[in-house]
Amino acid sequence: MKLELSRVIQGGARLGVLQGIGRTGQHSLKVPGCLLYTHFGTVPHLTQDTLQTVNNLPSVTQVTLSNIAEHQEVLEEFKEGFKAFAGLHNTVLYCSLHDPATRSPTGYATNKTVSVWGSGGRIELTASKFMALLKTVKPDWYQSMADGETWQTNTSRKRIRKSVDRTLAYLDECLLVHQKSQDLDGVELFGVVEGGDVMEERVRSARETAKRPVAGFCLDGLQTGSVDQALRTQLITSMTTELPEDKPRLLQGVGRPDEVLACVEAGVDLFEGFFPFQVTERGCALCFNYDVSPDPECAVLELNEEKHSAGDNMQPKGDLNCEDQTQMTSFEMNLKDKRYQDDFKSLVEGCGCYCCKNHQRAYLHHLLVTNELLAGVLLMIHNMTHYQNFFGAVREALATDKMDLLKKRVHGETRNT
């Protein structure tokens, strides 16, 4: 794996390509970018047929041990690894600990173990069990074991220090097994940077992790709801200055477009693609504007009108009160709203996704009020497409010095640029 940066913008934002990823090295991933979010290898609601209607799918698929751990025995018997088990061909598999779209309870990590929560409840993992699991999963990348329980505000400094120490100790244990294991030959390990909201701990965690032979870094404990964006930016900056330039940085648990932009500017390369799923689950469609194309005629002006009217009774952006990740953001429209009952426009004018090309808002509204499963399918297709295109716009903006314009678009201040 090789990170080729074509631009590094003063202050931190990086544009480039991760080349030669995957065990066979035939894949690449543009950064800034996001991973393909899945439940047990399946994009929520979608079969391969419906998934393949989405263009430019991320080349890296994320699965979590919280989904997989309970099936260890099955995978052991299967022997061919998770990709073959899940019918995933032609993708890079990244295995992380927790599902970024759900919060894991705190108070379970010990010096020897971390816990994940599957459908059958809590599963405790020691480093050796963790590594044994990964040998059966056979991912291309994986996240090292980590004590990520310090995301809650008011976590004590002592607890934060302990989480940094533990995470480094887990990493050393994982590395020891990793380096001796033929099964994990060619597999890349990402070290996890912790440190809660304490700057010195963030620096220490980043510095120490960077000393280890890891392929990249997971920045943990900064998920939506844990810190506000200003502090998150500071903390990320403090870490990225300690991290080598030639390795990717994956930020966990952050997906809102405004937060993504701020984190990109602080030097983050990769995000977990769970945000479109959360939007889908609340019956909403992403509709924010990300157009930075030079031709204003192409700009989808209607987008922001929709967004503003849809966001009327929303909390203002930047508000920290977003503990509840199920809450609607102002980047989306609520199709359950009665106003869409007889709205025969496509979901988002100008969107080329399967849903927008084939269906109208009134139909989506009907599917939602009648609790039909197709609503989730169609919304997921649109939301993933919209989100992927947004990341395309981020890269374009970085390439053409238009980050300020993009921020204005995303924040809804259009047409007066």
């Binding site: 399946t42 609601h45 047929d49 099955v74 009952q341 084939n358 139909y363 039909e372």
Partner: protein
């Protein structure tokens, strides 16, 4: 007489009999409807609310589905006929380019709504959404179905449970005939939308025959065999089916309502039916029950946790081509897409079963097909359901 002919000529339906089984009453036809030709015998998946259980219209089309159902009762309530007209009919609303059949709404009303009362005028019921009194008359049912723009509309019939006996059955039969006349008169789009009559008469052969005699004199595009598959004895069921097809005209399609189990399909094709519908294959999929040539396979059962074969190794559906029983078993714990996988497989199973049936009729080997099918479906001869053996014997097929 000349008027009758002109009307028939304008009927938006043609039926061409492609092949007839020399042994049984089975036939293979090309049924041409406004949106495309349907190859019969055909199974029609049910998309109650204008959508088929998490399956996109493109997926449904690529599975080879040429006609599916929408439910008038549900769609008439939500989103309502006016909105559907604005959306260019149910085809436009759900963006389905092939044929649609809609029911009359009567059956749902009687089975779903507790407070329904049948009078000569129609079915009275209280809306479960706003409590308002609503009358579903034959005219109203056809008006909604005209708004939906389905290729085949069903008459409103007076539905009586197939287990009810006595004068109520006779009353319902006569009323259904009167309502048929009102439905025919109410159809605003006879050049675009076909109307099917529904043969009633319960399990009483004489009443059935009387109903058949009357209804076959009406100018309708096709006939449904109604009032069955509601919990009656299978012995009564098949006898009523075969009696009906005996008296139905050759040149019009015969639709057996609410039948969808594989064995029932194969037997009733042999008895001369062309069209079938049932919610079962899609409903059962959501509980992880996959249809296979040897019955069904409960994907969620523990025994499949480490079974790395596809649901049916011989199935060509997208699910079986990519996923194992073990993966689907595990996915049921993580995501609703697991249901979609089984739904896709079950629709594929039903449609491909009917394609095989048709192929065997065309090739003149339907009786042989039935024997092979039964052998595969049941572990031994002793497990063959008696009614199926009798029904098949009645059309000269003996099982070995």
């Amino acid at each position: 007489m000349s008027l009758q002919k002109a009307l028939s000529a304008a009927s938006p339906l043609t039926l061409r009999i492609v092949a007839e089984c020399p042994v049984t009453k089975a036939r293979a036809c090309d049924l041409t409807l406004p949106h495309c030709t349907v190859n019969t015998p055909v199974f029609m998946p049910v998309g109650t609310q204008g959508t088929l259980k998490g399956i996109t219209v493109d997926q449904l089309e690529s599975l080879g589905c040429q006609i599916c159902l929408g439910n008038t009762y549900h769609l008439g309530m939500r989103p309502g006929p006016d909105l559907i007209v604005k959306a260019k009919g149910l085809h436009g609303f759900m963006n389905w380019k092939r044929n649609l059949l809609t029911d009359s709404g009567g059956f749902q009303m009687v089975s779903l709504v507790e407070l329904s009362e049948v009078t000569e005028e129609g079915v009275n019921f209280k809306s479960p959404y706003d409590g308002k009194e609503i009358l579903l008359s034959p005219e109203k049912s056809i008006s909604i179905q005209n708004s939906l723009g389905s290729d085949i509309m069903m008459q409103l019939d007076d539905v009586v449970s197939s287990t009810v006996k006595g004068p109520r059955v006779e009353e319902a039969m006569h009323r259904s005939i009167r309502w048929l006349d009102r439905c025919i008169a109410a159809n605003k789009n006879p050049d675009k939308q076909n109307l099917f009559a529904i043969i009633q008469g319960g399990l009483d052969a004489e009443l059935r025959k009387a109903c058949l005699k009357e209804m076959t004199q009406r100018d309708v595009s096709g006939f449904a065999i109604g009032g069955l598959s509601g919990g009656e004895e299978k012995n009564d069921f098949w006898r009523m089916v075969t009696l009906s097809t005996d008296h139905l005209p050759q040149e019009k399609p015969r639709y057996l309502m609410g039948v969808g189990y594989a064995v029932d399909l194969v037997v009733c094709v042999a008895l001369g039916c062309d069209m079938f519908d049932c919610v079962f294959p899609t409903r059962t999929a959501r509980f992880g029950s996959a249809l296979v040539p040897w019955g069904s396979l409960q994907v969620k059962q523990k025994q499949y946790a480490k079974d790395f074969l596809p649901i049916d190794p011989d199935c060509h559906c997208p699910t079986c081509k990519r996923h194992s029983r073990a993966y689907l078993h595990a996915l049921f714990k993580s995501d609703t897409a697991a249901m979609h996988h089984v739904t896709v497989h079950n629709i594929a199973y039903q449609l491909s079963l009917m394609r095989s049936v048709r192929q065997s009729i065309v090739e003149g080997r339907f009786p042989e097909f039935i024997r092979t099918f039964m052998k595969r479906m049941f572990p031994s001869r002793d497990d063959y359901p008696g009614w199926a053996v009798d029904a098949l014997a009645s059309v000269n097929v003996t099982l070995d």
